[in-house]
Symmetry: C2
Subunit: 217 residues, 2 copies
């Protein structure tokens, strides 16, 4: 299909660059590698994008444009109570990070966020801010009387729990082994974070009291 090997040379370059920038970073990836992967000549970068830096910027833009469209809007939770929407938010965030539609895009965006470059701002504005606003709308409804500063930290606690599994998977694996880490299914993590957060916010009983529902396999 055109998806696996698109005919448009510009897109071929973007996808090749995305994969290599994601894996090796801006300095680590060379224009020759990128063009080789795209099956093109080095001059192609100069022709289509001008230079390496503009190729990088365009690659990030393309990645986050795909990310925005592919991440999909949060499920239809408009009418549900805020607690249910919070659960939906956690589930959507974990799902997007765990098995994104295009892994290289996500990897590149995460790298971009951890090491800000001129291209970072637009990623934050277009990709991250909508999610953040969604979360804090839920929290404002859920905790109307909480001072804003503390509501901010509650939000950080929620996304901090979610981000951990993507940002620190390598360390977790080195510490506890691949088996233990891989055993944590997406559903299990979602369930845990939701329950942990609900318990913290008093929306449900304390965390450990609910344990027995698990089949303990």
């Amino acid at each position: 299909m055109t998806d696996a090997k698109p005919t448009e040379p510009r897109l071929r370059l973007l996808l090749a660059a995305e994969a290599l920038f994601a894996r090796k970073g801006y300095d680590g990836a060379t224009v020759r590698e990128i063009c080789d992967r795209a099956g093109m000549n080095v001059a192609a970068i100069n022709y289509h994008f001008g230079d390496k830096e503009r190729l990088y910027i365009e690659t990030v833009r393309h990645a986050h444009a795909c990310g925005v469209s592919d991440a999909g809007p949060p499920p239809q939770l408009a009418g549900l109570p805020p607690a249910e929407r919070l659960r939906g938010f956690v589930a959507a965030m974990l799902k997007n990070m765990d098995a994104p539609v295009r892994p290289e895009s996500m990897q590149l965006l995460m790298r971009e966020l951890s090491q800000p470059s001129p291209a970072t701002i637009s990623v934050v504005e277009d990709f991250i801010r909508p999610m953040a606003m969604g979360l804090f709308a839920i929290l404002a409804e859920l905790l109307p009387d909480l001072p804003e500063r503390q509501r901010l930290m509650v939000g950080f606690s929620v996304v901090g729990q979610c981000l951990y599994y993507r940002q620190n998977r390598t360390v977790s694996t080195l510490l506890f082994g691949a088996a233990a880490v891989d055993a944590l299914s997406l559903d299990a993590i979602t369930e845990h974070i939701t329950r942990f957060t609900f318990a913290a916010l008093g929306l449900a009983g304390a965390y450990p009291t609910v344990v027995r529902t698990e089949g303990a396999v």
Copy 2:
């Protein structure tokens, strides 16, 4: 005086390399930059370390050796109840990350953890594992009946909340402004995470006592 500009050339190189590797990564930092900053000739790297790669490995080792010694042992909480030790753990972790004794070391180690290299394993083993074991010893005492898998996720929730503030400070600042982010003092964050976690685990009342019913919508 000797601290700002140590006389030992080897150490001068290590400190210069640490700063530049931390800021620009392995590929981004050049040997000439490093030697310039150290006030030495390019040949120094070859003489003292052999090549750039071995300099990098030694730099990471040195950084995490300093980190281990400087991070300091967890405060004397041996005899205290596990809940108090958990509070101490959160406080110590946040403090180490917020204002580490040597910021460049911490930055380099965090970079190393997010983009694993051959030098990562020893960092994890010597620097991270002791902390992790300390945390899970507390959790085992605190939640003896919880299945191990869930205890693991509880640990991830605790450190995930803490790590967020270091790993995502840039994004937070872009989203909410420097003022809002900087307004979160170390004490405030420590207090928040501790209270959030305690509430989740049923060690204290729900986080915000303001939420009574979900009368909303």
